[in-house]
Symmetry: C3
């Protein structure tokens, strides 16, 4: 397994899950997700305990699901409620596995590992996605690569110059030195660019002329999120690399969930503390960001194919990969810990 | 192997095989079928004994087949008749394997196992398909699942309520208790519903008003047929579960042939002893039945995929699966016996 | 490995390689080919030594290639010239493997094995492709079969009667006995047909009436070329099987390069010493030859699939396969020798 087993992963955007079942394989396990009448989310193994037909092909009846094959009816907790022959005595031992789920920061989180350890306090703190005064929206891409390749990509933004040459590439930014730090289960890669003329996007966001301090801080949060703190503040405002709410600020949000060893779910978006009520800005930005991330998808899927066809070669880490390298080391350590304690 | 090796399987409908070769993989073996000038059927390994090009790509010459690659000509018994160079001495040791075939009950049967044991008397007795006073027609579907999943499906008709909800589903029937019995190499699952108002289809077939007795008897015949005896008789006629030719009667005919461990050939149809000369009825029924069985194909192929993606889970048998369970036990026993005697 | 490791293989036609990278897998190794400003050809492992993105997705800068992912810039010899951060010190140990290439006879040849042994003198002598007084052109097909199946095909022209029945099939030719000979790393299959009326194609080529001597000489040249010497000469001219430049002469050129164990690159064409300046003839002949070879592609890919689905059967060699059999024995011997000396 290339992922940490005992951890919360994003199963879906809040808006993807509704009354009708959604089928999605998470960490190698086929899962069905749906909402109950009280809007609570159910995550159940997507295989009928009778003959394994995907339950997501079934029929919702209230909060229960009835298998499309022989009509076995399961309650939201996975236990049998009605046998195929309605008059047969219900065997309470018949049960589809359910998984701990929790809705937070606009995402539905799932815990595939040991359910007893599924403490919601362990959910990665994506506060910009759910804090008053901030706006957050984004999209979803399936991607045919190891989720760690996406993390590598995000923890080293030098790729923007080439992968996104015609969209957001900005090579001048890359010349600013980075500073890498590990804190607990997080890895930071920070760039602080003091006293510059802001690029058009940020000048518009700030709504003011004049020189600014600018930052770009990639933050990995185990098991598999990368949020990138970006923004500018007028130089007179006294922003620092530690504290910089004086200007305009956004977070590029990226959460990756393993589907298999070589495929993933990629949830992405943008949280911002400016123009928060401007729905047009939100829609335009999401469309643009979606286009930029498709450029990454093309590169990452080609990289995955190349890993397979060049099995004798190894990935190599340069200075720029320090963030990604530390992330991989952390994942191994946390994965190992999980295995030891299991 | 999940199938009984020494047994007759349906290779094709009689109408599928003609002078031009038909390629079909049976029990894992690529086979070519064609008819000789006397209409007898030839079943030959679909690989030229020279360079293995499929013989089914070749040219028929009388009852012989000439390979499309170098022109090796083989007689209907598989032996070489002419070398690529016409003047070369024919090497009689060059030979494509041929298989025992027998045409009966509208099907072409093939024996892939030990040819010496291929006794036509062992062909499953599908008498309604070939008895005067009965009419029989049907179709063919390739299906990407283990042939045993199709048998499971047919030996337990409770699935009709859900899989065929909008076509032939009739949940009231399912509440009648079933009786399961093993007799020799056959398994029976019987339902007898006495003294009811007939549904429209059967009332029309009977051509009379009044209450009826109704039956539904699934009969598995090794190695891989399920025929379902269905019909109604006026209550006064004295029909019994053992003997019920007093009214109108039909047999749903289902014969499954393994292609591989996870794919099969599904031959299906309907034999009936009423309206036997009504070609319109035959055509309409075949169209409807084909539609209903496509609903099964969708479910069964989803089930097969789910078996692969949920490899840690096992199929579970409920009461309703008693027939299917006994069939699987019989297949294992007969398969084992075949292996022991080989 | 089914191929000789230490040998020259055709990577591409000369016209296929230009300034933009061409990706092609040769003997199992992903390779990128491009031309330098001096038109010399570079063959480099198609994986960036940093994160393995195919270099063929990259950007050419002069004779160097810059990876599309993080911008690592490699010189034509594969060594790093510039790090992703332009100001970082270049680590000279970073290097993509390059391969010996040589352009000769209109092809780009590559040596995937031990580079120290890559002596251009070992390139197969396809002299008709590069000799004054001769004209040469042809095409390329990817083909999903073991390269040895193509060689078998070409070393035994009896297949023309059946595979090319409607195009170039000429069964009368096949009745002439063949003579097979091994000389060094070459295998010859010769047909000499004395004193016949020339077929229309050759009569037109000769531009004269009267009876001719005709020949057809298949010549395998290790590791993987087959050139077929064909033509006619007036009987009075004194042509012999050893020396026959008295009339009109052509060479069917076929060079196969393994991609994997079950797929190949097929380079084909025609060299001729008549109508050498007739561009219309060249174009028409190439179109016709391309059509004929597509008939072979269909047969050979069907044969490869049949080899997989009939894994219990073996290829069999008849008299007509003597040439192919000797080739296979030679490949094994040379392959073994290569392995011993490695």
């Amino acid at each position: 397994m290339t992922w940490i087993v005992n951890a919360w992963y994003v199963a879906a955007w809040d808006y993807e899950v509704d009354r009708a079942p959604l089928a999605r394989t998470i960490c190698g396990v086929p899962i069905m997700l749906y909402r109950k009448l009280d809007r609570g989310v159910v995550a159940m193994r997507d295989a009928c305990p009778h003959r394994l037909l995907p339950l997501s092909m079934g029929l919702k009846e209230g909060d229960s699901i009835r298998c499309k094959y022989h009509g076995l009816k399961l309650a939201a907790d996975g236990t049998a409620e009605e046998m195929p022959i309605k008059t047969d005595r219900v065997n309470r031992a018949i049960c589809a596995e359910t998984y701990a789920v929790h809705e937070r920061h606009r995402f539905v989180w799932i815990w595939i590992g040991d359910k007893a350890k599924a403490d919601p306090a362990l959910i990665p703190d994506l506060w910009p996605c759910s804090t008053r005064g901030w706006s957050f929206d984004g999209g979803y891409y399936p991607i045919k690569c190891d989720y760690r390749l996406v993390i590598d990509n995000l923890m080293d933004l030098t790729h923007e110059t080439y992968v996104h040459a015609t969209t957001i590439g900005q090579s001048e930014l890359m010349e600013t030195p980075i500073q890498t730090e590990v804190i607990g289960q997080e890895v930071f890669v920070r760039r602080w660019i003091p006293d510059i003329d802001p690029p058009p996007f940020w000048r518009d966001a700030l709504g003011a002329e004049g020189r600014v301090d600018r930052w770009q801080i990639c933050q990995f949060i185990a098991p598999s999120a990368v949020i990138i703190d970006v923004g500018v503040a007028p130089i007179a405002a006294g922003a620092t690399i530690e504290k910089h709410d004086q200007g305009v600020r956004g977070f590029v949000i990226d959460v990756m969930t393993p589907e298999s060893e070589t495929s993933s779910h990629y949830f992405w978006g943008m949280a911002r503390n400016f123009a928060v009520d401007d729905a047009g800005f939100t829609a335009r930005f999401k469309a643009q960001q979606g286009g930029v991330f498709l450029e990454d998808v093309a590169i990452l899927e080609a990289q995955q194919r190349s890993l397979a066809s060049n099995a004798d070669l190894k990935l190599r880490a340069f200075n720029i990969d320090e963030g990604g390298t530390r992330v991989r080391r952390m994942i191994e350590r946390l994965g190992a810990a999980a295995r030891v304690s299991d």
